[in-house]
């Protein structure tokens, strides 16, 4: 077909991305007793996989499907439905910007502009040095501190466009590991 068509029948090896290692799979299997069906483990499994790989690669989707005994498309279906999951690789630090009504009224739009200007990227893009990605969410449920944003899992409250310089260079960003419980903590050796 000479007109424009996307070929979905094949996926090149380099597009498949990284896969899950045994520790991650074992972690996922540890969730099986919690639910009566294996399918119900899909959402926790995706969280674990994203913690481990940074995003959900095509190979990870296939492996998860195999692990949970699902058709592979079912994983794709769920991954694309939820905004939390990335289907392409992202930076080491991800900024989640709130764009709910309160945040916009309180100056969220300017924060977003400032962010795009400083990082030079659009939504769902990554800076060339692989450090930053950003996305917007409809509401972070921190409206009393609007406008607010998340860097990895740390909430920054009452951020104005002028504060961005300070927030972006904050050395704390580099070790923003939340005190995780054992739930979604990907096994340590798989951390990127």
């Amino acid at each position: 077909m000479s007109w424009r068509t996307i070929d979905r029948r094949t996926a090149a090896e380099q597009d498949l991305g990284p896969g899950l290692n045994d520790a991650v799979k074992e972690k996922i299997r540890s969730f099986f007793p919690r639910y009566p069906t294996k399918r119900a483990v899909l959402l926790p499994a995706l969280h674990i996989a994203q913690d481990a790989l940074g995003y959900i690669s095509l190979r990870a989707m296939r492996e998860l499907a195999e692990l949970l005994e699902l058709p592979p498309s079912a994983v794709l279906d769920v991954v694309t439905f939820y905004t939390h999951f990335w289907t392409h690789s992202r930076g080491r630090k991800t900024i989640v910007l709130c764009r709910s009504l309160t945040c916009e009224l309180m100056g969220g739009g300017r924060v977003r502009e400032g962010l795009e200007q400083r990082l030079g990227i659009g939504e769902h893009e990554t800076t060339p040095d692989g450090q930053w990605s950003y996305m917007t969410e409809e509401c972070l449920a921190a409206c009393e501190h609007a406008p607010c944003l998340l860097i990895n899992e740390k909430l920054h409250k009452g951020v104005q466009a002028e504060d961005l310089d300070r927030i972006l260079v904050d050395p704390e960003n580099d070790h923003l590991d939340m005190p995780r419980s054992t739930l979604f903590d990907a096994p340590a050796e798989t951390k990127p």
Binding site: V41, L68, R180, L183
Partner: protein, 482 residues
């Protein structure tokens, strides 16, 4: 006001998330009391308390529990902690400061419904809250409040936290159930209702965080205390949220029936507007419930005040009934966002339509296509290429979606239609002023070239729509694309 905070009594208390602090303050006494009653008595008690669900619809929790089939073998309890309604954050505040109150509520509800497995469905954006709750849960397990043979009563309860991943529609109970089952959060068709066939096709109860947090207090403080709070049909304390440009944005607990004006201007609550601005509009129950006119309503050009239309609506009492008099969908989450006088109403419309276009799940046609269309129109109006007929189209579209006229599977399109419709209805004059003031040529670049005729066709077949009027008197001269 002599109302003592109960749901929020631990806000600001140091180390309040620990079991020790919670127990020192009489924690888990309600659960202990409940475990001594029979489940049926407990259900009866909650029914008498007329505890109406705090999630938005206000359905009595006790009645919901009685819908469970009598001969069930397995029951699931789902806790709806997917608090996604914009400007709502009371669940977050509650979990932040008092996770054990929620867990105690879970325990009581699980006992009342004879549930042995409970899932707390928590939205993906709650990161810190997830860890707080998980720690609290681990503590409670260790202390024997969860697990096998709780406090020696022979009742078992496993409780798991299940994290969502960013989908508003998973706050709908069947959407939540689907999501828990590892599918996309497409709400299910009803019947069967979750109480009969819910999670994993078993009878299921879905309750909101705040609803469950009320249970320990009903048990420890008694029914009389509970019934003494609030208005005739809306009993108990409620957590109100206020955000936007007010002096003290935040979450406040008050008996049901607080008025909107009190919430904004009351010294105990919002503390008045920042910089002495006036209120243009308030969304008093989360976005979905619709907008109220503020102090500053658009004045008619001739200065004549129409008593039917030109009044502010801040005296609306925020309970389950009074809101309907002001053409709101319901109480919702009682989370108010204040739109100040200097905000452009078109921005508000754009934000609201974008939210629903973004969050519509895509199942029902009216909602999937309608929300996206309204967003496109709102974008165009914001860009300065609006027409007066667009307001009619948006309003008509908002009437043609939702569960109330039976046109959709879940209530999300109702929630989408209400704020948009009330915005257009209550602020139409301002929209029209904005449209009248815009650049006449602006529309050209934004209107599909191949469908120029539609620009002049405001009439849907068989249905009279207001004459177009529009901004532009003459038809657009549309050049063919080269």
């Amino acid at each position: 006001m002599t109302f003592g905070r109960v749901l929020m009594r631990h806000v600001g208390v140091p180390n309040s998330t620990s079991l020790a602090v919670y127990k020192a303050d009489g924690g888990y006494a309600g659960a202990a009391r409940a475990l001594q009653m029979t489940p049926d008595d407990l259900v009866e008690l909650v029914k008498k308390a007329n505890l109406r669900g705090r999630g938005g619809a206000g359905f009595p929790a006790g009645v919901k529990w009685t819908f469970l089939p009598k001969d069930r073998t397995v029951t699931y309890l789902c806790v709806n902690a997917d608090e996604s309604e914009p400007p709502t954050f009371c669940n977050r505040v509650l979990i932040d400061s008092d996770p054990h109150l929620l867990l105690e509520g879970v325990l009581i509800a699980a006992y009342a419904t004879r549930t042995t497995v409970a899932y707390i469905y928590m939205r993906g954006e709650f990161c810190e809250q997830f860890h707080i709750l998980q720690r609290a849960l681990d503590e409670a397990y260790a202390a024997g409040y969860f697990g096998h043979n709780i406090l020696g009563t022979g009742h078992n309860l496993e409780c798991y936290i299940h994290r969502g991943a960013g989908a508003y529609v998973c706050g709908e109970e069947t959407g939540l159930i689907e999501s828990l089952e590892g599918k996309r959060g497409w709400p299910r068709i009803k019947p069967p209702f979750p109480a009969v066939e819910g999670l994993f096709r078993k009878p299921t109860v879905v309750n909101n965080v705040e609803t469950l947090a009320c249970l320990p207090h009903i048990l420890t403080r008694g029914l009389d205390w509970w019934l003494s709070i609030g208005t005739a049909n809306s009993k108990g304390p409620k957590m109100y949220c206020i955000s936007g440009p007010v002096n003290r944005p935040g979450c406040y607990e008050a008996p049901l029936g607080l008025t909107c004006r009190e919430l904004i201007y009351g010294a105990d609550f919002g503390g008045g507007m920042r910089d002495g601005k006036q209120v243009k509009a308030v969304f008093p129950g989360g976005l979905s419930m619709g907008a109220l006119r503020g102090d500053l309503f658009p004045k008619p050009p001739d200065g004549k005040v129409d008593p039917k239309q030109d009044y502010d609506e801040l005296d609306c009492a925020l309970d389950f009934d009074d809101v309907r008099k002001y053409d709101l969908l319901g109480l919702g989450t009682a989370a108010a966002v204040v739109v100040p006088e200097d905000a452009d109403i078109r921005d508000v419309l754009l934000n609201v339509t974008r939210f629903y276009a973004q969050e519509s799940c895509g199942q029902c046609t009216q909602c999937r296509e309608g929300t996206a269309w309204m967003y496109k129109i709102a974008q165009r109006i914001r860009a300065g290429a609006g027409r007066r007929v667009d307001l009619d189209i948006i309003e008509e579209t908002s009437r043609n979606m939702g569960m109330i006229p039976g046109l959709s599977i879940c209530g999300l399109p109702d929630g989408a239609a209400w704020p948009i419709r009330t915005l257009i209805q209550k602020f139409r004059r301002e929209f029209e002023q904005r449209i009248a003031a815009q650049e006449p040529g602006a529309a050209q670049s934004l209107i599909r070239r191949t469908n120029a005729a539609a620009y002049e066709l405001p009439v849907l077949h068989g249905r009279a729509v207001q004459p177009a009027g529009g901004t532009f008197a003459t038809p657009l001269d549309v050049a063919p694309p080269r």
